[in-house]
Assembly symmetry: C2
Homo-oligomer: 119 residues x 2
DNA sequence: TTGACATATTCCCATATCGGCATATAATCC
DNA sequence: GGATTATATGCCGATATGGGAATATGTCAA
């Protein structure tokens, strides 16, 4: 077996940085392909291919408007990624608290030598 | 150019479902490789390779304990993914509100025919 | 219909993947 | 040291990638 297809799910689709840029760009407003080409500075065929992948996994929606096609981000499709990452929130909070506690313990040892404040 | 390396960043690393499973498993508690093998039902070399990728991008940390190596998830490294997906939160909220509003408009048209409530 | 514009698809290629299998490295115990 | 346990690495093959260049499809306008 090889690597899973980029079109197999949202996780694979967003692994590509250009596709993440496209999603951010299209989240604000629907746009024709040419706008994306300008924004990202990619070749038009490349953009079309990325859009194809994004469309296959439901991350963008298209609408025809005369000659152009208007793409927009379908934020709903990003939600599973958000939810998966969210499950780790409590762990990094936990780790941060530990870091903070260590830092404070250290501060107490050194006693009255504040730092980390931009004065 | 080909697809970016799985070790190029956290986004690429978590594209692989087994690696996400490993991260979830190791978030709760540090574990030796053998435990992961049992949990996921993969071959030991496969697990080692996945761990290698995860380690390269900082998603897990290792500690030697006698013969075994204890791995644990480094939740901090998942944070950028969480933050990126979070930027879309307002958009899917927005979309949900629209869906809700449309549904309510529809409800008003049909007039006094409630649904969606489990009675 | 012909031509211009907007987007999509096809073909090529260098590259990295993941799994399977065999083997290497490392630590422990006798 | 030698055997055993725990983990890591190397090699293989099938597969998909993403960029580039060329071309195809689709839409409008005259």
């Amino acid at each position: 077996m090889a690597r899973a297809a980029t079109t197999s799910d949202a996780f694979n689709a967003i692994a590509e940085p250009r596709r993440r840029e496209i999603l951010s760009f299209l989240a604000l407003q629907e746009r024709p392909v040419a706008d994306i080409v300008l924004q990202l500075g990619l070749e038009q065929p490349s953009v079309s291919k990325h859009l194809r992948v994004l469309r296959d996994v439901g991350l963008v929606r298209v609408r025809r408007e005369g000659r152009q096609k208007l793409y927009r981000t379908n934020a709903e499709a990003i939600r599973p990624l958000y939810e998966w990452t969210s499950t780790f929130q409590r762990f990094w909070r936990h780790q941060l608290i530990q870091v903070k506690e260590r830092a404070e313990a250290q501060a107490n040892k050194i006693q009255s030598r504040p730092w980390g404040e931009k004065t």
